[in-house]
């Protein structure tokens, strides 16, 4: 027992002392945080250039009908042809020229936006939506519906999804469940590959260094293999925890720097939300829809996801999946002399993992489909697929069955890998194929 501890410690310490580990640990969260913060930051960066747009409306429908925004101003030019404006365009301060042809009432493409540069999407969509609205109103008016009615029929629909559970009801959000499921499923896939490959490389390194025979004269091959697998698993967990800590720190820091007001707004909502929940959870039917805006709703459903359960099952499925695949990776590493020889054996391991990713895409849309169900039970894909389903809520018996099967399978794969490993590590300069490995399984240890 003491020997396996020594081996685990060596595997762990030499890896976390490596520069690549430190770089990955720091770079990972920066990338994660960038993925979350940068789009939000970009979205918050409005285009603050004043844009004057000349409108040449030969239909006469849209004069003074397209609303100005803070940064887009429309100037309606009458009695000027597009060619005239084109001539003087570079001297004018116009950002673009909007030409509306008379045929606009029946031909959607009878609108042109001219400019000497690429016009921005926000300008384009602003104009399009304003014009669509105006055309629609016009047609409705033509059918005898007046302004008052038009204003009163404007409606908004915002669906809140609520799940009946055994202890009452809870707010749920399909979007949030999708994001959480996708992220954790993908992370498991990524971790299995990343650290499984590290196991394999470690085994090959020991073999090519010729240190393996020295070690197995002190410790059992199985101890060496398990020590390596467990040591690297600990490296993976360490990295994962550091990532979570650092990412949280960076996001919190970035929020404080870039969106100083967002935090307080959220806090107010939380208070409101909590009050609301205390009063009304039991009588959810009575909730007035306008009490919840979209952000608050998402926030509420994020809270509804039990992150304790997700974190726990992530750790379980990561370890289970990693032990299952890691031991197979170790067996492959032991059977070859260098990394280029691994390819023929890698395929059978890669296929179920990639299949898992494909099913994951499907399971995100329909988490309870038979495909998602079966692949979340079958141990080779369950770590990925079940992680996607869990945020949507999975019956306990399914989780128990999936976890139980995973445990049984990884015990089996570790046992099998151990048999291949102890013969493989002492085999040099031999081209190994599946038939050969089958023979090794039958050797006495």
């Amino acid at each position: 027992m003491n020997k396996i501890k020594l081996i685990i410690l060596r595997e762990y310490l030499t890896r976390i002392k490596k520069k690549s580990f430190i770089v990955m640990t720091i770079l990972g969260p920066v990338l994660f945080a960038a993925m979350m913060v940068v789009p939000a930051w970009l979205a918050s960066m409005e285009d603050t250039d004043m844009k004057n747009i000349a409108v040449v409306d030969s239909s006469g429908i849209f004069i003074n009908k397209i609303p100005d925004t803070d940064y887009i101003k429309f100037e309606y030019l009458e009695n000027k042809s597009i060619n005239e404006i084109h001539k003087d365009f570079s001297k004018s301060d116009y950002y673009a020229v909007l030409q509306i042809l008379p045929s606009i009432t029946y031909e959607p493409s009878a609108v042109h936006l001219f400019s000497d540069k690429q016009t921005s999407f926000s300008v384009k969509s602003h104009i399009a939506s304003a014009m669509e609205k105006e055309l629609k109103n016009r047609k409705l008016r033509a059918h005898g519906i007046d302004e008052e009615i038009l204003n009163s029929i404007k409606s908004d629909v915002s669906i809140r999804t609520i799940q009946w559970t055994e202890d009452g009801i809870k707010e749920s959000s399909t979007e949030v469940a999708m994001i959480v499921g996708y992220a954790s499923g993908f992370l498991i896939y990524f971790f299995i590959f990343l650290f499984g490959a590290q196991v394999m490389r470690g085994v090959i390194e020991e073999k090519t260094n010729r240190i393996v025979e020295i070690i197995v004269s002190s410790a059992k091959p199985f101890q060496l293999m398990m020590g390596k697998i467990v040591g690297i698993a600990m490296v993976g967990l360490t990295q994962f925890l550091l990532w979570i800590l650092l990412t949280t720190a960076i996001i919190t820091g970035a929020k404080a720097v870039f969106f100083p007001d967002l935090g307080t707004k959220n806090a107010q909502e939380v208070v409101a939300q909590d009050l609301f929940q205390q009063q009304n959870l039991a009588q959810v039917e009575q909730i007035q829809p306008q009490e919840l805006d979209k952000v608050a709703q998402i926030f509420n459903s994020v809270k509804s996801i039990d992150f304790g359960v997700i974190f726990g099952s992530f750790i379980f499925y990561f370890l289970g999946g990693y032990l299952l695949y890691g031991s197979l990776f170790a067996a492959i590493g032991s059977a070859v002399d260098n990394e280029t020889d691994t390819q023929q054996f890698m395929l059978p391991i890669t296929i179920p993992l990639i299949l898992g990713i494909f099913v994951m895409m499907n399971a995100i849309q329909t988490p309870d489909s038979p495909v998602a169900f079966w692949f979340s039970i079958i141990p080779l894909t369950s770590p990925i697929v079940m992680m996607v389903r869990i945020p949507f809520g999975v019956p306990y018996w399914q989780i128990a069955l999936s976890m139980g099967l995973l445990v049984i399978t990884f015990l089996g794969s570790v046992w099998l890998a151990g048999k291949i490993y102890r013969t493989g590590i002492l085999m040099y300069g031999k081209k190994v194929n599946y038939k050969e490995i089958w023979k090794w399984l039958r050797y006495k240890s």
Binding site: N209, I211, E213, S218, A219, P221, R422, L426, K444
Partner: protein
Amino acid sequence: MELLKVQNIEKRFINHLALEDVNVSIPENSIYGLLGPNGAGKTTLIRIINRITAPDKGEIFLKGKPLQPNDVNLIGYLPEERGLYKKMKVGEQALYLAQLKGLSKRDALKRLKFWFEKFEIQPWWDKKVEELSKGMAQKVQFVTTILHEPELLIFDEPFSGFDPINANLLKEEILELKKKGSTIIFSTHNMGSVEELCDHITLINKSKNILEGQIDDIKQKYKSNTYEISYNGDTDKLEKSLNEHYEIVEKSKVNGNNSIKVKLLHQTNENELLSLIIPAVEIISFNEIIPSMNDVFIKVVNEYQS
């Protein structure tokens, strides 16, 4: 009293029999040569003794008791295929290997300090193994093999990769270890070092051990009753003095002296030979030809083949 006894060991791999009914007994405090052509099964036997692989049949006894898993701490093994973790520091690595053999960290550090000083390799402590030359790495490996002061040491081709100076240093250390009471199994193809170091040998050929015993006995057994005589005088006269009990194997001229090798066939001895030739020529020297281990090796293996 034997330290290690290998009894009726058999090990079969799918396509061939690696060891068949091998019996070896290794006397305490001896240097025991394990000889044999490539692929004869020496490494398999060593691995079985080290409990790296298990035999299909047979048993191993250490000091009269069946070999236990923990007994590997009493064995030090320097394999033929040996190496170290390239990216690890020398000191760290030596410490790790010593602890794997059951030494406490404190003991290991103390002993490593002693040996590193003795071999004058302290400056390497913080170097990475990849910065060392092959010979330097071999020295570190040797130290880690003997550090836990095992009762049984197994060296598989220990001298390969050493320059003559370091090989000599190693040889002296091995003899020193024997003096301190260790028993040493020594596997090599280098017959010269076998004769220098070993007391006993066993010869394994085609999965069986076909010859076992003390080196002196074996040499006696395989000598061909041939004598080398160098002399002054007429070779024809000498030849005529010999009768049908003798056979002349070889005639030559060495440093201006005549030399002849004579084999005693039967019903005769060296005294009779001398009495026959003394009247014929003036004898300078008279030696019995003792076969070298090299000759024995080749002879035995070839005989076995045919």
